[in-house]
Amino acid sequence: MATIEIDGKPYTAEVGQMLIQVADANGVEIPRFCYHEKLSVSASCRMCLVEMEKAPKPVPACATPVMDGMKVWTRSPKALTAQKAVMEFLLINHPLDCPICDQGGECELQDISVGYGKDASRYGEEKRVVFDKNIGALIATEMTRCIHCTRCVRFGQEIAGIQELGALGRGEHTKISTYIGQTVDSELSGNMIDLCPVGALTAKPSRFNARAWELQQLDSIAPHDGIGSNIHVHLRRNEIIRVVPKQNEAINEIWLSDRDRFSYQGLTAEDRLTVPMIKKEGQWQPTDWETALQAAATGMKQIVEKYEPDQLGGLASATATLEELYLLQRVIRGLGSDCVDHRLHQIDFADQAHAPLFPYLGMPIAEIERCNTALIIGSHLRKEQPLLNHRLRKASMNGAKVMFINPIAYDFNDMRIAQQIITSPNDLITTLSGVAKALLVGKNNVIPQQLEDLLADTKVTEEQQTLAQSLETGDHRLILLGNLATSHPQFALIRALAVAIAKLSSAKLGYCAEAGNSAGAWLAGVLPHREAAGMPISTPGVNAYTMLNKGLKGYVLLGVEPELDSYDGAKALENLQKAEFVVSLTAYVTDTMKTYANVLLPISVFTETSGTYVNNAGTWQSFTAVVIPKNEVRPGWKVLRVLGNLLNVSGFDYDSSEQVRSEVCEKLGQKTTDNLNSWQVPNDLSARKIDGLQRITELPIYATDMIVRRASALQFTRDATSAKGVHVNSNVAAQIGATEANVVQVRQNAAKISLPLVIDERVPDGCVLIYAGQAENVALGSWHGWVELTA
């Protein structure tokens, strides 16, 4: 500990802290541009110069470590002269275009120049002009305004992990730029907009749309990944202008992924459904709520009465709120059916009865960065949950051993990866068995004898042995199952082996949630085998895959486009079209929907309704509506409540979403989840027979749900555009005699379509990567299977 004096007042500080940190912690204001608490110190702007005792010149507060007995003055004549001089220099080249600058009104340069700038410039010479570059669909540049603080460059190097911007040239000729003609493609790029202290980098989608002082700031929760990032929604007259992060160190720190930042554009997409619609004699017509709800209730009742209750199925997106999800399953169950599910990406439900209470990360989000050893199985974590990946990256930078077992050699933004095993989906079981076997040596009674016996014949490769050895180092160990594992055709086996590996290596086991409210969907009981709060059902209904693959007579859809959102979109569409009655609670209307639905009910999306999301770490985050939805759009929970009333389901007299929430809360009580004891011992560890090229399917970052798919700017990013076509490595391409961009015939089961070939060396031999959530690929059907390519 050190005691220092700032402006005559004593403060205690840690030795090694920078002066500016002590000042910030104690509310002493020091102006700065380049310093940022989350980034390394560059000390390039010199705005934070302060006077220090026994120092001949003013010192930069951001780069001066405190020493015991140090005396500092931040507002002395000497300090102020230095600060004002720096300000004058910074303003020499800065254009006086605040009236047309998007940053105007919330600009650090503007704010500080009020305090430290002169009222008139002494500079009469020519100012520097820098031509703007197009660096992508998300960030607008106006580089003449740049003051070279290099926060954006450091963000790329230190947080995003990929340096895409650099300071080219030197002195007055320095320009912040990407490398010749390249774009900024990071999934966290939007944070550079927040970091930029001037108007050099601004948000392209909201450019010139509003002035900062016209905006109203309301809080909400982002719905697109399991983190549940806290956000500020900026509105002007009931219109969302932009979304920015709200600081929450336990969840998203001060960052926000681009998906959560720019998805709001999807809320005003052209195909937004704003009035209820019903199909009468084959014709679609807008109608009022009463008619529509009556039609929905009658239709649902008819299915149940005409056939059996379990001919009516409910399918929901895990981006819906906890309240909507809970009421949906209550409505369906109220009619006697247990066919309700949200796990649309899953195919293996064999051990569902033994699954944990909800997909729990295994630890709080912030704990991830304190891991010493982590094994991630089947996850493109960087694109699944960008900020979870950021925590893991921090752990790796602190020396943690991070290992991956993946079907694709993903690029993990310069994370220090100790080992990456690339294995085709089919070989995943063998690989995991090998790792488990390697760990088993010398351990008794850690895993059931039955599993030990199954592992008896397993051969351990050198690669698996190394990985197993690394897993037994470090105090905090974590095994994480990603989305590629959850959607695997042998997920139950993967779970069992992951549990075994975790037990054998004394690690924690965690699951990566697929969507913003996956945990909420489990807790709300949108599952055929469990009611709310995990109460088991003796005779479960059928799961999402079976509902869509075998076909039911009636469906209730909540926020899903099954052709894009489910494991086998082609089959799902076919069966929906065959069904007698489909009611879709949806925010959007598409031509495809019109081919299968009978009633379309316009519901609100995340900023338009009150509700709750439960994040990957089990944190409940409630929010209120921040915008009034257009026209006849109503919150989903209200629609479902009325539907419940019309169907005479008992106890449907909720006045608010809070009542629904507390009902779930009460049912849940003190229940917690235990990932390590929620599994089933398998009977067999054999992989499937290989019969052609294996299809690997990834749900790309900007196709995960209805809203994101309609966020226009995100759809122009490289992550979105590169998800097209059929990806193979050059060996496979050579085998079929095709080269990059050739259109090839892709055959899977009975389906045959043409797709452009993309040479992608990340894909292993014998495999094909085809992305999900792409309209062009839907016809191919299921996410796994055997594919035939012909040039």
């Binding site: 990929i162 080219l168 990407t178 050699a409 060396e761």
Partner: protein, 167 residues
């Protein structure tokens, strides 16, 4: 195992790579970027005195650096050229000491003699002219640098002689 996505080295010769490797050996294996300045110099020398973006890319791949980080270095130092230069790059100092010793006369003479201005190349590609800041030879100002040789205490006559010898 995973296939590398890197393009095969194509532009730099094996001699250049050997030279870069000699520099790489001086630093810890995880600090490959320490050799970036040397690598850029080697690439520039091989390419007739200037760097292309393809060369920068190749160095970035070889040193496992982001291309933009290599470009930062390449644009920061004035010794790296991004446009073609003459066979002999004449760098004339016009900084304070040289200026006081009438470097203006030297510049004028060179420009007249070669028929080119700063940043230009003679039509035969032999010479190019560049204005530089202090090269640390103030004691014998005015001065110029051609290739790796300093020429000091310059006079127009001396320049004629030097250029004639280089020709």
């Amino acid at each position: 195992m995973l296939a590398q996505r890197k393009p095969r080295p194509t532009l730099l010769t094996s001699e250049s790579y050997a030279e870069i490797d000699r520099w790489l050996a001086k630093y810890p294996p995880e600090r490959k970027q320490s050799a970036v300045m040397a690598a850029l110099t080697i690439a520039q020398d091989q390419n007739g005195g200037w760097l292309t973006s393809e060369l920068v890319n190749e160095i970035a791949d070889y040193l496992e650096m982001p291309a933009v980080a290599v470009q930062e270095v390449a644009t920061f130092y004035s010794m790296y050229e991004h446009k073609p230069v003459g066979q002999h790059k004449i760098c004339v100092c016009t900084n304070v000491s040289c200026m006081l010793c009438d470097s203006e006369r030297i510049v004028k003479h060179l420009q007249q003699k070669l028929g080119i201005g700063f940043g230009q190349i003679t039509p035969d590609g032999k010479f190019s002219l560049k204005e530089v800041e202090c090269l640390g030879a103030c004691v014998n100002a005015p001065m110029m640098l051609i290739g790796k040789t300093y020429y000091e205490n310059l006079t127009p006559e001396k320049i004629d002689d030097i250029l004639a010898r280089l020709n």
